[in-house]
C-alpha cells in the first residue's frame, strides 16, 4: 500500500465520538425491539413455568402461588404491584387438599451464564419431587447436557436435599447423592449448588407452612 492510499489517522475525539454514537444507536434499537418482543416472551415463559411447576410437583390437583413480600410468604400481592416484582413459591395440594410440597425457582451462575432451575420438594423431609432446568446457556455439546440428558433431571425425584455430587455410577445409593454428567461436571455441580443454596435459603420459611392444607 502506497503512502497516499493509507487512510488518514483519526483524532482521539473522533474515535470516541464514533464509538459513543454507535453505542447510543445500538442501545436505542435494542430498547425498541425489547419493548416490542417482551410481552410475547414473558407470556411464553409464564406458560412454560406453569407446566414446569406441575411437572416438578408431580401433577398436583391444584397449587397456590405465594409471593415473598418483606421477608414473609403471602398469597396476596401488595396493591399496584405485579407478580414478576416478587420471588414466587408454588405450594401444591392433592385432591383432599393436603400439602404435597413446594416448587421453587432459583438461579445462580453456571459455567457460562446464569442457570435457572425449578424443583419441587417437601420441606420437612427434604425429599425431592422433581427438577427441571428452565434456562441455561451452557457450552453446547458439554454443559448443555444438564438440560438435554433426560436421566440427569429424572434422578432428582428420588433424591433428598441437601445434595452431594458423585461421579456417574460411583454412588453408594445414598439419597443425598446425585450422579454428575461426564463432560459437564462444572454445570452439574452448578445445578447441585443452586438446589442446596435454595434449600438453605428457603427451608426456614417453608417449614412452618408444610402442614398447611389448601385454603
Amino acid at each position: 500500500m502506497s503512502q497516499a492510499d493509507q487512510p488518514k489517522s483519526a483524532s482521539a475525539a473522533s474515535i470516541v465520538l464514533t464509538l459513543c454514537f454507535a453505542g447510543v444507536l445500538a442501545g436505542l434499537l435494542l430498547v425498541v425491539v425489547y419493548q416490542a418482543t417482551q410481552p410475547r416472551i414473558q407470556a411464553y415463559k409464564d406458560k412454560m413455568l406453569k407446566l414446569a411447576v406441575e411437572e416438578v410437583l408431580q401433577h398436583p390437583a391444584s397449587y397456590q402461588t405465594l409471593y415473598l413480600v418483606d421477608g414473609k410468604l403471602t398469597p396476596d400481592l401488595p396493591a399496584g404491584s405485579s407478580a414478576h416484582d416478587f420471588e414466587q413459591v408454588f405450594h401444591g395440594f392433592d385432591q383432599q387438599g393436603h400439602s404435597l410440597g413446594f416448587a421453587l425457582v432459583h438461579a445462580r451462575a453456571g459455567f457460562q451464564d446464569t442457570v435457572r432451575v425449578i424443583f419441587g420438594y417437601h420441606p420437612q423431609t427434604g425429599d425431592m419431587l422433581g427438577m427441571r432446568v428452565l434456562e441455561s446457556k451452557e457450552t453446547p455439546g458439554l454443559g448443555d447436557k444438564i438440560e438435554k440428558e433426560a436421566w440427569f433431571g429424572e434422578q432428582f425425584s428420588s433424591c433428598t436435599l441437601p445434595l452431594i455430587g458423585v461421579k456417574a455410577g460411583k454412588g453408594t445409593g445414598d439419597r443425598h447423592e446425585v450422579d454428575m454428567i461426564t463432560g459437564a461436571t462444572i454445570s452439574s455441580r452448578a445445578v447441585i449448588r443452586i438446589l442446596n443454596e435454595a434449600f438453605t435459603e428457603w427451608n426456614p420459611l417453608l417449614q412452618p407452612l408444610a402442614e398447611e392444607e389448601q385454603p
Binding site: 483519526a10 473522533s14 445500538a26 435494542l30 410475547r40
Partner: protein, 205 residues
Amino acid sequence: MRETTPSEDFLRGVWKENPVLVQMLGLCPALAVTNSVENSLAMGIATFFVLCGSSLFVSLLKHFIPHEVRISTYIMIIATFVTVADMGLEALVPTVHKALGAFIALIVVNCMILGRQEAFASKRPVGRSLLDAAGSGLGFLLALLMIGGVREILGSGSFLGHPLFGPHYEPWVIMILPPGGFLTLGFWLLGMNWFRARKQQRRVS
C-alpha cells in the same frame, strides 16, 4: 481489477464463493445446529438477517467510521443485530430459540459476517453491499438446508417433522449426532469438488 455487475455480486455468495461449501466459513453453526431442517432454517434466516442489517449500516456509515476502530464498530453493529434476531426468535418461535441455544449469540463471531463487512460493505455503495450480503446469506442458508435436510431425512426419517418412510424405517441416529454433521458436510464437499473438477476438465478439453 474488473468491476463486478450487480448480479455477480449477488450470485457470488450463493454458489461460486458459497461461505460454507467453498470458503469453509461459519462451520461451527453449520455442523452444530443442522440436526433438523427447522433448526437449519431458523439459523440460516437469523444469519441472513444479521448479515443484511450489518452490511446496510456498515455501508451507510463507512465514511464516518475511523479506520482505527472500524472492527470494533462492525462488531458493535453485528452484535446489535444478533441481539435483535435473538429477541425476535424468542418471541416468535420460542421452541426453535431454545433448540438453537447459545448458537444464536455465537452468530456475532461468525467470521463470514465480519468478513463481508471488511471485504465488501466498508468499500462499496449501499445497494451493492445489500446484494452481496443477501447472496452470502442465501448461500449460507442453502448450505445449512443441504446439510440439515440430509441429516433429518436419514437421522429421523422425516423432513420438517413430517415422517417420510413409515413406521418400519430404522433411523440412522448417528446422522443427528455430531459425527453425522461432519460426515454430511464431508460428502457435500466431495460432491461439490467432484462436480467442479469435472466442469473444469470439460472446459479444458
